[in-house]
């Protein structure tokens, strides 16, 4: 469904060009959950933003191909790209506090994709928004519909972001560290929610995290990135049981001991 081939991302906003992603390859099938792990600054977000078509076309050079539905998202026109954005490819950001427009009501923001991509009436949009808000397990969706972002907690906002992302039933959901800013219990709920969305709607999820424990429990396949390169990839079990690369081994040994204790018992 999605094929990323030899993606290179080069920044041109300084005197010397700086490459932040080298030869990134990814194949994503319908309904799959693939994880990307790696330390801070390894290029995870850059790759994700490139796939979502969010990298500015001015200050950076991108080489390679991002093929979705037989169309190369890197070279297609803005208009064509926009048809996929929000409709087929969606993304949830790391910071639920700033990802919502502070002066717009929640309901309006969640329905925005529908307003852009469909010709539904405001009535129908409202109905669908409330259904989706309920679907991401928010209590009192009708009440939340009329609230402003500052009236919600971080966990609730992240659910709202997820609702906004899945309302058009996208084929791919990119989640860039969606739980990093949340506390552990909320984190677990959000992960469960993502898993359920993946099961019931068949949405493929590209899950970015530096929490290996989370990736291990959620993803079927995993890519390990280090300094802009994919150093290892394969099924989650294989990578975690028999890491081939020195870097992956170090990453795994850095998982908090609690995990190991649990495994050992």
């Amino acid at each position: 469904m999605l094929d990323v081939i030899d993606l290179n991302i080069e920044f041109h906003d300084h005197i010397t060009p700086e490459t932040v992603v080298y030869d990134f390859d990814l194949h994503l099938e319908k309904g799959e959950i693939v994880g990307i792990v790696g330390e801070s600054g390894s290029g995870k977000s850059m790759s994700a933003l490139a796939i979502a078509g969010l990298l500015s076309r001015k200050h950076m050079k991108k080489r390679g191909q991002i093929i979705f539905d037989g169309v190369d998202l890197l070279t297609c026109s803005r208009g064509v790209l926009r048809k996929y954005q929000g409709n087929d490819i969606c993304m949830v950001f790391q910071e639920p506090m700033t990802s919502l427009n502070p002066v717009k009501r929640i309901g309006w923001q969640v329905g925005e994709s529908l307003r852009i991509h469909t010709s539904l009436t405001e009535e129908q949009i409202r109905e669908k928004v409330i259904k989706t808000l309920a679907d991401v397990e928010l209590d009192d969706p009708e009440g939340i519909y009329d609230k402003y972002p500052h009236e919600l907690s971080g966990g609730m906002r992240q659910r709202v972001m997820i609702a906004a992302a899945i309302i058009c039933e996208p084929k791919i959901l990119i989640a860039d560290e969606p739980t990093t800013a949340l506390d552990v219990t909320v984190q677990a709920q959000i992960l469960k929610l993502l898993k359920r969305i993946n099961k019931t709607r068949g949405t493929a999820i590209l899950f970015i995290s530096h929490d290996l424990g989370v990736v291990r429990s959620l993803c079927e396949r995993v890519l390990v990135m280090y300094r802009g390169r994919i150093v290892e990839s394969g099924s989650t079990g294989e990578v975690f049981e028999h890491p081939r690369e020195e870097y992956t081994k170090r990453l795994i040994s850095a998982i908090p001991k609690m995990e190991k204790l649990k495994d050992g018992q």
Partner: protein
Amino acid sequence: MNIKSFILKNKRLAIGGSITAIMVILAVTGLFFTPYDPNAMDISAKLSGISPRHIMGCDNFGRDIFSRVLAGLSTTMVVAVGTVFIGIVFGTLIGAFTGYYGGYLDEIMMRFNDAVLAFPSLLLALVFISVMGSGKLNVTIALGILFIPSYARIMRGEFLKCRNLDYVMSARLMGASDMRIMFVHILPNTVRVMLSTIAIGFNNAVLAEAGMSYLGIGVQPPDASLGRMLSEAQSYLFVRPGYAVCTGMAIVLLILGFSMLSEGLEKNA
């Protein structure tokens, strides 16, 4: 919170609001109704003082000063609102495109802006007026155009600040067009800044109009104008000080009230 404690806590807001409300009511009244025709001359009443028939007296042509103050207030108000409107509409448009897109367009527009801002605005207004001719409409257009650069600069900053925020990214990710992002997603976030610039701009417009009319290059007869009246009143300052005082007070109250109101609002927002 009850009304009394609210007023005590927000004295500026309350006082400014009341003054502004009164001035607006007077100006709107002046638009439709004045006790006398502001231009009707009655030589027998020339420079007469305060009397029950003319509560502010009459000027050197025997025209009722109160009627002229009302008419002048509404002229000033119309010119100021028109000026601010032209400034904010075009300023926002230019600011939105330059701030959101950046690049060469931005560079060129902002250098042009700097050039315009470098001239004293009254001087530029003078040039406009000498090319287009004076009168209410032309003064409004000239001042409006002069206001565009500073509004554009402020709005550009707002759009520049917002264009890379996460929620704009989310909107872009939903497939929103640039136009939609600029005017549906970002614009409502600039309202606070916009309102305070409108407030400052309104006062500047009132002063500029009064100043130009005082110099004789602004609003022309038969339209009454506070600035023009002030310059006439100057000749009779010692005979009829009330003439200058009434006219001057109208300008002072208008600006004082509006500044206090906008300051109070800003503190409360």
